[in-house]
Symmetry: D2
Subunit: 434 residues, 4 copies
Amino acid sequence: MCYADKKLSETKVFKDPVHRYIHVDDQVVWDLVGTAEFQRLRRIKQLGTTYTTFHGAEHSRFGHSLGVYEIIRRMIDDVFTGREGWNPADRLLCLCAALLHDVGHGPFSHSFEKVFAVDHEEFTQRMIVGDTEINNVLKQVSTEFPQQVADIIGKKSNNKLAISMISSQIDADRMDYLLRDAYFTGVSYGKFDLERLLRVMRPLPQGIAVKKSGMHAVEHYIISRYQMYWQVYFHPVTRSAEVLLNSIFKRVRYLYQEEYRFQHQPVHFYSIFDGKISVEDYLQLDENIMMYYFQVWQKEDDTILADLCRRFLHRHLLKYVDFTDDFQKNNWVELEHLCKKAEIDPKYYVVVDSISDLPYDFYRSEDDDGCQPILLLMPDGKLRELSRESHLVEAMSRKEQTDRKLYYPYEMIDDNTHHTEMKSKIRRILDRSK
Amino acid sequence: MCYADKKLSETKVFKDPVHRYIHVDDQVVWDLVGTAEFQRLRRIKQLGTTYTTFHGAEHSRFGHSLGVYEIIRRMIDDVFTGREGWNPADRLLCLCAALLHDVGHGPFSHSFEKVFAVDHEEFTQRMIVGDTEINNVLKQVSTEFPQQVADIIGKKSNNKLAISMISSQIDADRMDYLLRDAYFTGVSYGKFDLERLLRVMRPLPQGIAVKKSGMHAVEHYIISRYQMYWQVYFHPVTRSAEVLLNSIFKRVRYLYQEEYRFQHQPVHFYSIFDGKISVEDYLQLDENIMMYYFQVWQKEDDTILADLCRRFLHRHLLKYVDFTDDFQKNNWVELEHLCKKAEIDPKYYVVVDSISDLPYDFYRSEDDDGCQPILLLMPDGKLRELSRESHLVEAMSRKEQTDRKLYYPYEMIDDNTHHTEMKSKIRRILDRSK
Amino acid sequence: MCYADKKLSETKVFKDPVHRYIHVDDQVVWDLVGTAEFQRLRRIKQLGTTYTTFHGAEHSRFGHSLGVYEIIRRMIDDVFTGREGWNPADRLLCLCAALLHDVGHGPFSHSFEKVFAVDHEEFTQRMIVGDTEINNVLKQVSTEFPQQVADIIGKKSNNKLAISMISSQIDADRMDYLLRDAYFTGVSYGKFDLERLLRVMRPLPQGIAVKKSGMHAVEHYIISRYQMYWQVYFHPVTRSAEVLLNSIFKRVRYLYQEEYRFQHQPVHFYSIFDGKISVEDYLQLDENIMMYYFQVWQKEDDTILADLCRRFLHRHLLKYVDFTDDFQKNNWVELEHLCKKAEIDPKYYVVVDSISDLPYDFYRSEDDDGCQPILLLMPDGKLRELSRESHLVEAMSRKEQTDRKLYYPYEMIDDNTHHTEMKSKIRRILDRSK
Amino acid sequence: MCYADKKLSETKVFKDPVHRYIHVDDQVVWDLVGTAEFQRLRRIKQLGTTYTTFHGAEHSRFGHSLGVYEIIRRMIDDVFTGREGWNPADRLLCLCAALLHDVGHGPFSHSFEKVFAVDHEEFTQRMIVGDTEINNVLKQVSTEFPQQVADIIGKKSNNKLAISMISSQIDADRMDYLLRDAYFTGVSYGKFDLERLLRVMRPLPQGIAVKKSGMHAVEHYIISRYQMYWQVYFHPVTRSAEVLLNSIFKRVRYLYQEEYRFQHQPVHFYSIFDGKISVEDYLQLDENIMMYYFQVWQKEDDTILADLCRRFLHRHLLKYVDFTDDFQKNNWVELEHLCKKAEIDPKYYVVVDSISDLPYDFYRSEDDDGCQPILLLMPDGKLRELSRESHLVEAMSRKEQTDRKLYYPYEMIDDNTHHTEMKSKIRRILDRSK
């Protein structure tokens, strides 16, 4: 029997709190889970710094990746198999793409990618086609298989159905993370009816469609997403921790560029500072490594770096006020000026964060980022875009919501041992915005 | 108002997946949560290496510590307050002891303490009475308060009730961890009825008692414990990861003693190797630091250390067979001998693990380790030890169960490039035990 | 101690699947639960005929009434007590009104009230002030107390806060039934975060307000309601069972008026047919009595009544098509005509049902039926109507949705033993609407 | 295609709170659900009078029957299919037996069967082979099929595997009712891991066996059963309601035999009183009919019958004390004597109830009632009886527990308007037992 078709002698199961059990029958899948690159996902948290707000959110991308795989497996084995639109030859391709879709994530991806201009999707593809244990497994299926998997994840394939299963407005990725993140944070928002949703999905050449009779299950899923974004993912306290992370990364790069003499050399960062990081270097970066550096940097002579690291480790986060248009027009320039005078470097300490900076992919019928819309399969066999049928979704998709906040170091500004006059002015400005 | 009685202007809540919400009203409690030592608990997993078996078990001791606090808070505020046996003056003492009971845990405590002969309970007490942020908070309550809290945790206090709330056969610690570990692993075993159990507890001078009418709730709790121990805590795969950790620690200490030249010096370990670790050094040891070292040590020249670290990081665990009395008598000496000949050092690679080595505190009526038994409060006001009334508990407490397994490196033994004859003999011995 | 203040010697608890436990401390509440009128609620299903669609929905109004009581108890004891806007003297009043708010419900209220023009709210008030066991309990509190309780339920009191707790857009009634009906049907829609919602409620003279910071919890509740209405309460199959019930009630009244000789006299119905039902007669009507009659009427000579009862008991429901404006304009008159010719009486068998007939109280900012809107308490202390702040609610409250269906007896129309030509025409008309 | 193999054009699903969804693909199963006899199960509560103790327990045998069917369907389709021990030809037989296993239950079976000496298992079989809608469906499969189904349920078949799936110590019946009854009562006891348990089951000629590696899942199930029995099924308050029911049935039969002139003739009972009830008569008996009679009998002249019915309807239950051997020896004769003198008929009002009277089928290795023991399938392929391997089960199965209580009418005995001296003596006797 060829490797692609090889089954385990007995189904292996992973106990999973979200899906109860994750079932693996295929040797290829089992071998991928055992690779160093996949095991590394245990060392990268699914929600980055969200644990500073929701202490339960300590789960890693490892469980999520298994969960996406399991959803795709059920979608195929329980719903698609035997239906006209489904090509059984795509099964292994979809399972592997599901399992590996996040494998290129770096530590604290959100801030890390922003500051260092790397892209986890690119690294995911490089890991799949590069010289890795994952590649060694995949190429046993066939020489072209690694590239095929990478093309599904990179949305470059012609297989639109497979792409839509892994990445669209209603893909297995979102379905798993909403359920999983709700479970681990403990919030009650994300719990749509996965089983019902899977049952009403149908495979079509242009992607997954949902039977009209299941529209309410889709609405529930869309609303869950809306609520998870605003209640969990965009939580202002989490964003405060992200602001600190950003500042740490910016500061350390600045010091490196200025040839500052680190007591503890950031050797793991050199290639990323120099903008030429290899897959091998990248694989060594995980959140344990980051946290190690944050801890040792607490003792650096550079007071900004040391302070930022202490703040991050001990959760002395920045406070915030709403950053309105008025504030921007009337106070922002003055505030920056005053902070500089008070020796509080605004570049690292007084920061505006807008949620449009966050990966906001809430439902839009206008498909401007290549994201596929959700299609309903009507009783007459025609397809209709969801918001044309659902009042609820139509209403929700109309307006974009934004939220801008100004983050600032409360304790520094409240400390009157120096620059008392400046700080008193700063406080007056901030108090007006509360 | 004195600091001990100071309330927050509004109740602060932590969203918690196990207890829904954790409520903080006391300034002292709030300040303790904000200390560097308490925040450090986020970097120490509640279940050590269990995540290698149950991937959901990535939760830290931070959430558990809040959970124990919350159970004690409810026990006091919802059940004990106003009852005869309860002294309202003990409230803050119990809350602080609950919150801080685990604060001295080191990274991967189980193996760490075993190899390096440190004791987390001792460090908990040293942190509370030593020069720490925690101590700074507690001593504002009163000069004696830190020692009082430490004495509850250390079971040296005369306040038997308070001790039994934090540490007895039915304490808040066990109640939280059973529920929490069941939640995060996703198993269905640990879910006894906490609310019911709290409602039937009564404060007595000699400790917590449980009303007879609530005996079935206690039985459920005892059985949950039994099942969690055998299904989760003693899982043979987790023990395999612990065996690896043990070997890493033993190897690195050996190399240090032999004055091996590390490429990456284990500076964080020096004082522990030398047996004179301070609280300050100890506080820097967390699981991120450990994982950092394991990662960099993969490149050490010492092949044993490098291999053990690779195995641990990429989850190439040891396999196991039952280690019976027969095996010990007939095969053990020969097996060790053969392994040495095959250049597989049995000290690190072929290891017997017995669960009596694990912190097995399942219910015993014989109270040999100072652990308080569970007392039932009968309708006539008398007390009876639980197993005298419950057939189920009596049956369960009678016999001790042990489980011994022999762990071995499957791939090494199966690799026939060298020492083929020895290895073939080793395999024959092991196969007989399957 | 006066009766109003009398406490039970120990808290009594009811195990409840929705709230875990329902706690009773007050003698008055305990005595009310023990009355014949309250126990009768066990014989009236919470969701009438919904069990024909969701087989789990067999729960009665008894559990719901306890649940509403428990929510009000927690709202008062855990959130309102000690706050400025709350008058402690209103506690018992609110608890009793909560417990008794549904006590006047008749069997299968929806159809029963529609056909016989009775109003359960009126009967609730008559039971409270009339000669009943409930009244005997309440008047021990004070002579005026029964009328005060009735006035809260009847929204005639000046106590707007108490009214809003029992009946408003965000009252304890809706909060319990959404959670309870979701639990028993097994759907995943209704599960908003009750604990969070209670915590952000504030007592004001004009009614309950919700702190702005809790707006997302209110949104979740509003959406849960929307989804429960469309997924459960308005389910077309349930409406089909209601259509049958309507027809049974109409037929039996018609036969009574025509002096038809029943084999089994509907003695329990006489006073309701005659339009002069007393509280005593009303109390004897429960769903067991109804089902008894349906069963014995299966053997009546009147074929319409016998057939309708058989259909209801054995769940041979009517089928349905959408009843569009087009259909009404073009086909309706002809269809009725053909049915009569085919000896299918359209009065009982071919029925249009519109959900505007159902108690649709989904959120509207326009408060046309005396229903109080939801008020947000802003950080500056001002009040704002919810849809002014929430994009989601604003979007959802704008348009009314309606749904009209035509129900018809599939088997009769498909039976070609008689009137084959008519029936063939009828089928053609109906097929066009599928 | 033959009827036995006919599939529905699309899977039909029932929303079920316990199993999420119940899936029906077979036309035979769908047709059976639509029969009058199966729909009648909606009018018979799963737990009889348990709703008087746990108000959530209002669920009927309809949902349970679907649940048992669903468990068998999953056992076959997800676990057994394709394994050596499983004969695919038995699939429909097992599904039908599962669905129909309880169809012969009468109203309030426990008391009803006890007083009138009928047996629901006998009626189940009579319904399946007699002139019923169920039989009409089954015989379309084949002439012998109804008898084959009846023989599985009646344990008369040679197909031991099929029998053990429906009725053994670990059958689908028990598995569903433990989960379902725990869900509806709201207790936390019954929740073993169904999915895990199914996965470790193996089909063998002598019945279901469970893989040794799944032993802990079986233990969990056994303990759940133990706890459900003692916490729910044997609850003393429920038994009090059963005692009342018994008394009602006994009294009404006595009156019939004495030719008492009922105001409301119990026509539905005549054939059962006369000991010659037909299937047709039996099918008309449901709990609605019973409750109708209880209501109208409240107005009968016979004060005992009227009082017992009032008590049952309004939940004025009997109180209880432990009925010890001492009490029996020393007080019982005197107590009966005193009651008679005080005009309290002990036959109906002062009743000893022993739980050995209840269907106690908790695990026993000694298989005295034809109940099959639980077999473990060891790694070496041998079978071992569960209690030989499990310390826990061995301990639990050793001793039988019994519980005897004396039920008495508290209000009558406390009412001092008549027979004050007798009653005072009665109270003294009862008080000694508290």
